[in-house]
């Protein structure tokens, strides 16, 4: 064991050193960090692919790449962003690091399984990357792998499908671990309704991961069988049913959207009370809205298929449920706003990101209702409007919540602080760049610009150009933010144990946390958000 030269107290970062001690660590905090670094690398790769696509679309016609390259790029951009970055994202990183601490446990229920999940994840991620480059023949089906094209496309679709299957397995194991952890590992006195709301959101998420992911797993296996063994489950030429594939795919992939967004909601639900120094408004409604989203979200998949030829009755049914699932999300928005109302609001970088989360998520949510209505959907289906909508939800929602989370928990994770000024500057670039990148896509989408097109009518050029400028600003903001965080983690000022005066358990232990989190397992005697002992500094 190597002691740190600064004679800092031993913590999870320095109690053992060397790459091997990380690769074999079953410590939930180290595993969470390993997820974070992996995800950050893949995020940067996919973001660069996104930027290249935007550069291609600066002008009509071919600019920097061929149509086939473009098809491969949006496919691999989607596969990386969805399966490697956003679905594991918050749950695997901050869930791993903070779930056990926030419920007063020393680790997750199955620490070895947790490490195993990371290796499964890495295997899937490498396979995904490999599918892009093997034989110079990247998949061009889009991340949705729609048959019959994915059954016929002469590219590395089988490798990409296998990657998605393996990544799904990692997701299932993480979800399983979290459910058991929350059921069995809560500290004495921590009843269900004394549990903080980020763990609650992870609980709802974990059930979706557990119950929806196997469906897409078997579906992807069937497509693999279709390609390798010529069993035509979904190929109409062999008697199969392509719409059946869409059903099975979206039975998972719509709930997967809630796998992405529920932990994001959980993160900002932690941030608003802390930076308002006020108990969260409506604890119980937030809990039940999370569970309601998980439950109802399971039954709205058909809204991806309004133009696929499903019956009128099922279109009506899925449209109705889509409107229904918007209600619990709206409840949460009102809860967050009411939490800030009358509080002593401290506009530090985490809160800045959390507030912009509400703004972007609300735009994404409302445009989701536009797409959920049957009539407007017919007009907007497969246009850039859809692309703008889901980037507002996934990037504006989950992405900004991730940025909020890293700025919130950074001092706890590293025991150091980043520079606030540069964090605020990066926020300006990210927020402006994001809106400039995606808002024009709403407009040209309504005007009829289809998604996934390499070329376009010159009349769309203003919108496309604005969007590309936004992409550059956004990337610039990302560079500033990541540099600021990396610099802060190495050379930042030493952070106190509780810089934001938070009240949940992670703020009651040293920064960085000791290897086993707590010297003594805490006993919980009251609800989580009680600010009735105002600090005096």
């Amino acid at each position: 064991m190597t002691h740190s030269p600064t004679s800092a107290p031993l913590n999870y970062l320095n109690h053992k050193t060397g790459l091997w001690s990380w690769l074999t660590s079953t410590d939930h905090k180290r595993i969470g960090l390993m997820y974070m670094y992996t995800i950050a690398i893949f995020f940067c790769v996919a973001a660069i692919l996104g930027l290249l696509m935007r550069i291609e679309k600066m002008a009509p016609g071919q600019t920097i790449m061929t149509a086939q390259t473009y098809n491969g790029m949006f496919t691999i951009h989607g596969i990386i962003m969805i399966f490697i970055v956003v679905i594991p994202g918050l749950a695997a990183v901050f869930g791993n690091i903070f779930l056990p601490i926030m419920i007063g446990a020393k680790d997750v229920a199955f620490p070895k399984l947790n490490l195993f999940s990371w290796y499964v994840f890495i295997t899937g991620a490498i396979l995904g990357l490999y599918s892009q480059f093997a034989n110079g023949n990247s998949p061009d089906t889009g991340w949705t792998f729609y048959v019959p094209y994915s059954a016929a496309a002469s590219s590395n679709v089988v490798i990409a499908l296998t990657a998605a299957f393996v990544l799904g397995f990692a997701s299932i194991l993480t979800g399983l671990n979290f459910i058991v952890t929350i059921h069995r590992m809560r500290a004495p006195g921590m009843t269900w309704f004394r549990m903080p709301l980020f763990p609650w959101s992870l609980y709802a998420t974990a059930w979706i991961q557990l119950l929806a992911t196997p469906i897409v797993g078997i579906t992807l296996l069937m497509v693999i069988a279709e390609r390798t063994l010529h069993i035509g489950f979904f190929d109409p030429a062999l008697g199969g049913d392509p719409v059946l594939y869409q059903h099975l795919f979206w039975i998972y992939s719509h709930p997967a959207v809630y796998v992405m967004i529920l932990p994001a909601m959980g993160v900002v639900t932690e941030i608003f009370p802390t930076f308002s120094q006020k108990p969260v408004f409506g604890y119980v409604p937030i809990v039940f809205s999370s569970l309601a989203i998980a439950l109802v979200g399971y039954f709205v998949w058909g809204h991806h298929m309004f133009t696929s030829g499903i019956s009128y009755e099922s279109r009506w049914f899925f449209s109705f449920l889509t409107f229904l699932v918007a209600i619990p999300s709206a409840i949460k928005v009102f809860n967050w706003l009411s939490t800030m109302y009358g509080g002593s609001v401290d506009l530090k970088p985490p809160l800045l990101f959390a507030i912009s989360f509400i703004f972007l998520f609300t735009i994404g949510g409302f445009t989701g209702l536009t797409l959920g209505s049957l009539a407007t959907n017919i007009q907007l289906h497969n246009t850039d409007f859809v692309v703008a909508h889901f980037h507002y939800i996934i990037f504006g929602g989950m992405g900004f919540a991730f940025f909020a989370a890293i700025h919130y928990w950074f001092p706890k994770i590293y025991g150091k602080m980043y520079n606030f000024k540069w964090a605020n500057i990066s926020w300006v670039f990210l927020f402006v760049g994001f809106n400039l990148l995606y808002f024009p896509l709403f407009v040209i989408g309504i005007q009829g610009m289809p998604r996934r097109y390499f070329d376009y009518d010159p009349k769309f050029q203003t919108g496309e150009m604005l969007s590309t400028i936004g992409a550059f600003i956004l990337i610039f903001g990302l560079i500033i933010m990541i540099s600021n965080l990396v610099y802060g983690s190495r050379r930042g000022a030493i952070a106190p144990a509780n810089p934001w005066h938070g009240v949940t358990l992670e703020w009651q232990i040293p920064s960085p946390p000791p290897h086993e989190n707590f010297d003594e397992i805490p006993v919980i005697t009251h609800e989580p958000y009680r600010f009735d002992n105002p600090h005096t500094n």
């Binding site: 992911t213 296996l221 008697g239």
Partner: protein, 203 residues
């Protein structure tokens, strides 16, 4: 390894909860295939009827009995370990493995017979069949193949359990791995209980 000092012992209720959740995911995995089966069956009722006649219900029934008995022996071995009779527990697990072997040999001959008739995906004979029959055989190979994979995984788990009993790591006080492996084996049995009527009996 000191990093795992608080994680060496997973208490039995926690371990079993995890296993049950995992079994749910397995049911959902096969559930996807059952959905496809139902949709295709209603679409191609007559073809499914003809194709199902190809399957030998006697072989299927034999395998059902074999798996049911193996479920019994695996449960008995758990009782044996709780009664501190390690030798008997290992013997019963060994019988379970033998029965798993019988199941797989049966399966081998069953598949081999169909391959002999050129009834496999992509063969010329298959391509000449009506769509519904191709679909039936496709589902047959996919479902029984995935199930056979589970039999193999279950067999590996039970083999590990035998060695752990032998080395004393599994004993009357600590038998979580054996209990979870037995649960897994029951799942293998349960899935087959559904596959058998769907593929062999309903014609």
């Amino acid at each position: 390894m000191s990093t795992t000092e608080h994680s060496e012992f997973i208490d039995s209720d926690t371990g079993k909860l995890g296993m049950w959740l995992f079994l749910f995911t397995e049911l959902f995995l096969f559930g996807g295939l059952f959905i496809v089966y139902s949709v295709m069956r209603s679409k191609y009722a007559a073809d499914f009827h003809h194709a199902a006649l190809e399957l030998n219900a006697f072989v299927g029934a034999t395998n059902t009995v074999v798996l049911l008995v193996s479920s019994m022996t695996v449960a008995m071995s758990l009782t044996a370990i709780q009664q501190k009779r390690a030798g008997k527990a290992m013997g019963l697990l060994f019988i379970t493995l033998l029965l798993a072997g019988v199941f797989m040999v049966n399966k081998y001959f069953e598949w081999g017979h169909k391959f002999g008739l050129h009834l496999y995906p992509g063969s010329d004979v298959m391509k000449g069949l009506p769509h519904g029959e191709i679909m039936f055989f496709g589902l047959y190979y996919m479902m029984t193949g995935l199930h056979a994979l589970h039999v193999i995984i279950g067999g590996i788990l039970l083999t590990i359990v035998i060695f752990r009993i032998k080395s004393g790591k599994i004993n009357a006080g600590h038998y979580l791995l054996q209990e979870n492996s037995a649960l897994y084996w029951h799942l293998v049995d349960l899935i087959w209980i559904f596959l058998f009527p769907l593929l062999y009996l309903i014609t």
